[in-house]
Structures are given as C-alpha cells and as structure tokens.
Symmetry: C2
Subunit: 250 residues, 2 copies
C-alpha cells in the first residue's frame, strides 16, 4: 500500500508555529505537504480569490505558499500542486479555539470545508486559549486523530472540527463528539479615532455569551475534553422546509 | 405600529445597480437604510475585518458605506449605525445565482447569515444569469418575499436564500421551497503567465456539474421557479454524531 498523502494547510500563514508543529506530527503517518497562505488570513472564512491570478512558490521541499486564502490553497493543492488527490487534509493548528458560531468566520475550518467538497477526509485543529500557545500536546492529539481518520470513515460530506483544551496531556480527560454551540458577542465593537479626529470602528473584544448545553463543543473544552464536531456541507434546514411549505404557501 | 426598519446590504458594493433596485423596492414596506461595502466583495464569504479599524461614511440620507466586507456592514449597522435593531435584513440583488455549494463562498448570503446570528429575519436575493442583468422583475419578487417575511415567521436560526430565474414576470411559474443542491466544478483553474514569464493560476471558469434532484435550488431555477432555500446556522451533522460515537469510540 502506498504511503498516504497528507495536505497540511492553515489560515495563519506558512511561517506560523502551529502549522509547523502539525507538519512535523504528520511525517510518521505519510507524505506530508504544506500548501499555506503567505500571510495571516484569520477570519477570512471561505473566501476564494477570483479577481486576480495567484502565484505558487516552493519555499523548501514539500512546503509551498501562495498569496491567497486557505480555500485558494486547498483548491490549488488538489488541482495543480500535489501529484495526486490527497488521502487526508489537516488544517491548523490554529492558536485560539474555533467553537460555536465562530467557525463560520474561520479560515482554518473553511480549508477543511473546501477539502470536504473534493470528497477528501478533512480535519480542522484549533488549540483553545489563552496565549501563549505551545503546540506540543495539540500536535500529539492531531497525530492521534489523523491516524484514526486514515483508518475510519467520516460521515459523508462532513468534516471534523477539532478543538483541544490548553492543558497538559495528563490532564486531558478524553475525546468528546459534540454539537456546535452558539456564541453571541456583546460590546464587540470598539470606537477609535484616526489622526484627523474621524471616528472609526474596530471589530473585536467584548464579552462572549455561550449556550448550547452539555453536549456542545464549548462545554467539552471548558471541561477538559478534546472536542470533535462533525460539520456538514448541506446547510438546508430540512425541518424548516416543511414549515415553510405549510405556513408560507401562497 | 411603527414603520418597519429594513437594512439593505450586498457584496457588490454600494454603487451596484442590484442594491439600488432592492432599496427602491423596500421603500413601500418601511424605512429602508443601505449599509454596504465601498467596493466589490464577491466571494469574500463570511469574512470579518478584525485587523484594522473601519470608517463609516454617509453618502446621502439613509445610504452608508464602509471599507469592509458584507459581514462588517451588518454587524456595524446593527450595533452602531441604525437607531434600533432592524425588523428585516435584505441582501442583494446579486447579479448571478447563489446555488448549491457556491453559497458557502457568497458575500450576499453571508450578510444574511450575520443578520440571522443577531436574531433578525434575513433574506439573500440573487438573480440567475446569464448577463446582462436587469433587476425589474427580481426587485418585484424581492418586494413580495420581503412583505411576506414581515408577516410570517422564518424557521428559527435560519435565513432564506432566494434565487430568481432570469425570465419575464409572466413566465415565472411560482415559488418553490427547495433544498441546497451540490455543484462541483471541473477545470475551474486557468493557467496564465506574468510579464516575467512566471506561471500563475487564476481560479474561475470551468464546467459546473449539478446534482441534488428535483427538490434542489438549481432544479427550481432551471425550471422557471423562484427558489427559496432555508439555510440554518447549526452546521452539526447530528446523524454523523451518532455514527462517530459508535465507530470512532476509543
């Protein structure tokens, strides 16, 4: 059997320590290749660059970078850079959790969405805060889950969003399969002024309010578990369809 | 009863003809306010600008613009610009369909996702191609669906993704509530060279392959129906959770 081909990407850029820890962890599982953005692409979500051409550069053996988004990296890797369709895509390790509604903004998770669209098993890894981030434990967790993903199937058209608590390996209580919780922010826009006295708004900060119950991703992390959430491509609210057909019929 | 407050946004920018047609259509339903990006933000997905402050400018009465993404526009409108929480958010009208997997990249749809996160009924409108685009029929459709959305409730934590076929009003066969189809592209990356002879890749073009069946969004549009798809915020594959707990147990 050929050695598995593993694509490694992220949203923080090719020089981020999280992706290097993930790359190193994948070496014992197969042939790992990095294709990652040149610079930080945090909160770019599933953005795709279609208004300009993209240039791919090989920094060193099996490490490629391009001036685009995480989604660009996955689509170019699969279609143009890699010698064949990869057996697994791993994205991260993101410094900071991707939980609840926040995953909708996440470049880390979106890379795994793009991989899933190609029918490739895809895992997104994030290490919960606070900083400073040390990736030793989370890289070992990534190794374990990637090795499982090479053996067992994922649910169809579904990626796994994996969050790791910021604690020592001996303190981690295990893995929990979770649902996506909800997070709403309060006062998450700050007001500031430019050198000419004009008001600007800066998105960030504020207080997060969690809900979602004991089976949620956030609850697992705050309880010391690794959270593994299956995230599907189909966004249709199927129950909502029946409701609309009944209530909105004209 | 106070007149409804309606936020109008898009991803093509404040000067796009589609948003102006939508804005004009909303006037008879309530107080309409545009908050839209300064320039084209197509395919930015749910990107949020957190690395720099944003400046809001009032171009004319009830028309605001800012140098950010559609998601930035919605969060700043709701939190800072509008006098109160709007009763409805409408996004579009996008020139070109947002169907199947493509909605994951769409700025038009992401604005409605952001609105839904605030608990505000949100509708995304797209007019299917080919160009040239004339927004008269689609603006009338938007008026009708917005007036319904002000009366009837949407399913919880769910936006409506609305696509309109590019045909005359008399030819439209009605409204269909649909599920999100799937679209995969083939050969959708072109190779090109810069003035120094270096190879670049340009994402776009290629052939789209549809699947999803007769209840899908794409089938409705190609059959001459308006497609209304309920899109939910919860991305969890709940069936997949049970599968993982059974198959991946360690």
């Amino acid at each position: 059997m050929a050695s598995p081909l593993i694509l490694v990407t992220n949203d923080d850029g090719v020089y981020a320590p999280g992706i290097r820890a993930l790359f190193d962890a994948m070496h014992s599982l197969g042939d790992a290749v990095i294709v990652a953005p040149e610079r930080d692409n945090s909160a770019v979500s599933h953005a795709l660059t279609m208004h300009r051409p993209l240039r791919v550069m090989e920094l060193e053996k099996n490490i490629y970078t391009l001036d685009g988004t995480p989604t660009d990296c996955v689509t170019l890797a699969v279609n143009k850079i890699l010698p064949r369709k990869p057996d697994l895509i791993v994205s991260g390790i993101n410094p900071g959790a991707n939980l609840g509604d926040d995953i909708s903004y996440s470049g880390t998770v979106s890379a795994a969405i793009e991989g899933t669209m190609f029918g490739i098993p895809s895992l997104a890894f994030s290490l919960a805060g606070p900083p400073p981030y040390s990736f030793e434990v989370s890289a070992a967790v990534a190794w374990k889950l990637a090795s499982m993903a090479l053996i067992w199937k994922q649910p169809p058209a579904t990626l796994l969003n994996i969050n790791i608590p910021p604690i020592a390996a001996a303190e981690i209580r295990g893995i929990r399969f979770t649902r996506q919780g909800t997070r709403r922010y309060k006062d998450s826009i700050q007001e500031t002024y430019d050198p000419w006295g004009r008001k600007h708004y800066w998105i960030g900060g504020g207080t997060a309010h969690w809900s979602g119950g004991e089976d949620s991703d956030e609850h697992a992390i705050s309880s010391g578990y690794i959270s593994v959430t299956p995230i599907q491509l189909d966004l249709t609210n199927h129950e909502g369809l029946a409701y609309l057909e009944k209530e909105w019929m004209m």
